[in-house]
Amino acid sequence: MNKLRLPVLGMAAVLSAPAFADNDFEALQKQLDAIKQDYESRITELEKRLEKAEQESKQAPQQEPEIQSVSTEDKPAEIVRGKPKGDRSFNPAISLILDGRYSDFSRDPEEYELPGFMLAGEAGPGEQGFALGHNELVISANADDKFYGRFTAVFAEHDGETELEIEEAFFETLGLDYGLKLKGGRFFSDIGYLNSQHPHQWDFTDAPLIYRGLFGNQLNEDGLQLSWVAPTDLYLSFGSEVLRGASYPISADSNDTVGAYTLFAKLGGDVGASNSWQAGISLLDSDVGERTSEAHGHEEHEEEEHEAIAFSGDSKTWGADFVWKWAPNGNRKQRYLQLQAEYFFRDDDGILSEGEEVGTLVGEQSGWYAQAVYQFMPRWRLGLRYDSLDSSATGSDQELIEEAGLDSGGYKPQRWSLMGDWSNSEFSRFRVQYNRDESSPEVDDQWLFQYILSLGSHGAHRY
């Protein structure tokens, strides 16, 4: 190390030496030698100190105990007052999630369709081959004694262009009285179970089909949320959100201040030492302004000068979710089993329009998934998931309904997924997933390989 460092230090010293006679090589040589020696001794001294400190801190137990045989008295006579924890204390917690995949689909993902459902935004199987996933930067901290804030930016690539998306930016109270909490800004809605989880926390690489079909993977919106936790033994929580609804699937009118509201209730508890559960119900009631399909398959049609078909009207989505978790004695380090299922039902009532062409629409879309994830030994997990969707659409203009992709022709999309993953630590995970995807009548065999790394501050063990 010395060898590498010294020439650099020497050069820096020479360059910064103020009195420097051009031809006086001897003086220069002496000066250099002196500097060199000085630095050398200082570096050795520093290294010695560092080594000593390292040994003291790391190998403290290996050293002989200093004084006492077995101490019979307590050590500190007084309470040691809280000590500062270093420079992290006032900085926000920062974490960076790296997510990338390699995908192999037997069908062209550009032609992906989900009969009976409009597709939007990121809702699709993804890209063939190597591709970046959901890379996100999260910054969060308590702003003061009353407020917590979080900001999440997602870096995504679409068609060769890097897009920066603000996924979350919200404040939250650290507890008003009576168990109330207010949250405001942009956040993931608390409807359903999976909706408020970040994609890197999902147990499978992709979202359940019903989330893809109804919310374009996830519902995140600008708005306000008020929630209340009951002071009961059984966990009981109620909440309500008012949402602007600027994006899919609410796509509210630009003149509306509020495009949707939600209601949700969750309850949960423990059963013995080894089991815990949570169940929830939710409602999303939205006033849709202009919901259009932006799926890949439809982009191609744009060349044919098709105007986007838009739905507007009332849309209500009901959801029910249930999670059961088991771990022997509640110790998740070794083994655990996690069962999870959700059901959503959406009722649309309004009009479909394509330019001048207008027709009524009464649509019903529903779907569910159930999954099991089993950690059979530390670091290794296996998972199985089944997705099923159903829909019907009736209206005055059957042709419009068909063009909008809302006519399933009686077809019920379904999908089987099998995954296995390995986590070297809590901060890295590698996953293989196979989907037998029957979103459309023609079966798509999908292989997904994914890595997720979490850098920086410790992630949350949320339920």
Binding site: V70, V80, G175, W228, S276, P328, N331
Partner: protein
């Protein structure tokens, strides 16, 4: 069109819901059983104590379960280890529990690590070193001497939160201090033969116990904190320790036993399961019997290792 008045009325109606909170006893939410036991010692019948972690759970790997959220919601005092031991789940609980009384900075928020001397404060923070804790090794509950400052600060907080019962708490404290100091002397005398005893640990969670009893840690089965051992690492460890005699292998009740038993088979060193907290092993169901058990088990194993 959604009626705005309806939304506003709906939101306001939440504010009118006023829950019934009875203040019969102070609710104490302890993150680990040992702090629950301390709080019970000091609080007596003036407190109602819950522990988030059960003895068989690794406190690093707890999830913010619904039942814990509802307990945090009602807590008046939170007593945790701190030093980032609970960093994966306590922050979530604090946010979801919507309870202003126990947020950081409040009298109801107590991290014992802030009141004891921590060891192994890392110089270099890098996750390639395993599961690091920036503030130092958080397993200080295995040195019973740390229970005294813990009991004192718990007393202070209970007095701050419930001044009416100050005398009760102070009396409990002095009684506890007296009994604990007597026990410390007793354990110290009994454990004298353990001075210099070489041990192999599973996780490096015993350094405070080692310091107290003068045990000598010669190796850890985990290559890095929180990283399970691989076969090559274990083989290396075997060659490194083959010339040592009288070794004991110690681990806590919740740690996996496969690699431990393998290592014990190969070396012939006896395995000692030590309770890492109150209730960790049968018979260790109070603060006092916890350390009784630790000392007894170590002495018994030392005898059998000969």
């Amino acid at each position: 069109m959604i009626k705005r008045q309806f939304i506003i009325a709906g939101l306001l109606s939440w504010l009118i819901v006023i829950p019934h909170i009875s203040h019969a006893a102070l609710n104490v939410f302890a993150c680990e059983p040992e702090w629950a036991a301390i709080a019970q010692e000091i609080g007596g019948d003036k407190v109602k104590v819950n522990s988030a972690t059960r003895p068989m759970q690794d406190p690093h790997y707890v999830q913010a379960r619904p039942s814990l959220i509802s307990k945090v919601r009602r807590a008046d005092l939170l007593v945790c280890t701190g030093a980032d031991l609970e960093e994966g789940w306590l922050p979530v609980l604090l946010r979801k529990g919507s309870n202003p009384r126990i947020q950081a900075g409040q009298a109801g928020h107590l991290m014992i690590a802030d009141y004891v001397q921590l060891k192994e404060i890392p110089i270099r923070l890098d996750r390639s070193e395993g599961h690091m804790h920036a503030a130092g090794n958080p397993h200080f509950q295995t040195d019973p001497r740390n229970m005294l400052p813990a009991a004192r600060v718990v007393t202070e907080r209970l007095v701050t939160l419930d001044g009416e019962n100050e005398q009760v708490y102070r009396d409990h404290l002095s009684s506890f201090e007296q009994r604990w100091k007597a026990s410390l002397r007793r354990w110290g005398e009994r454990a004298a033969p353990l001075q210099g005893q070489p041990v192999v640990v599973y996780h490096r969670s015993w350094i405070y116990l080692q310091d107290w009893l003068g045990l000598k840690e010669v190796a850890a089965l985990e290559p890095k904190p929180g990283v399970p051992p691989g076969s090559r690492y274990l083989a290396d460890l075997l060659t490194r320790t083959q010339d040592m005699s009288g070794l004991l292998i110690i681990h806590s009740q919740y740690q996996e036993s496969k690699s431990i038993n393998w290592f014990s088979d190969k070396t012939g060193a006896p395995v000692v399961v030590l309770p890492s907290t109150v209730g960790g092993t049968p018979g260790a169901d109070s603060l006092f019997s916890w350390f009784d058990t630790i000392v007894t088990r170590l002495l018994d194993a030392q005898d059998s290792a000969g």
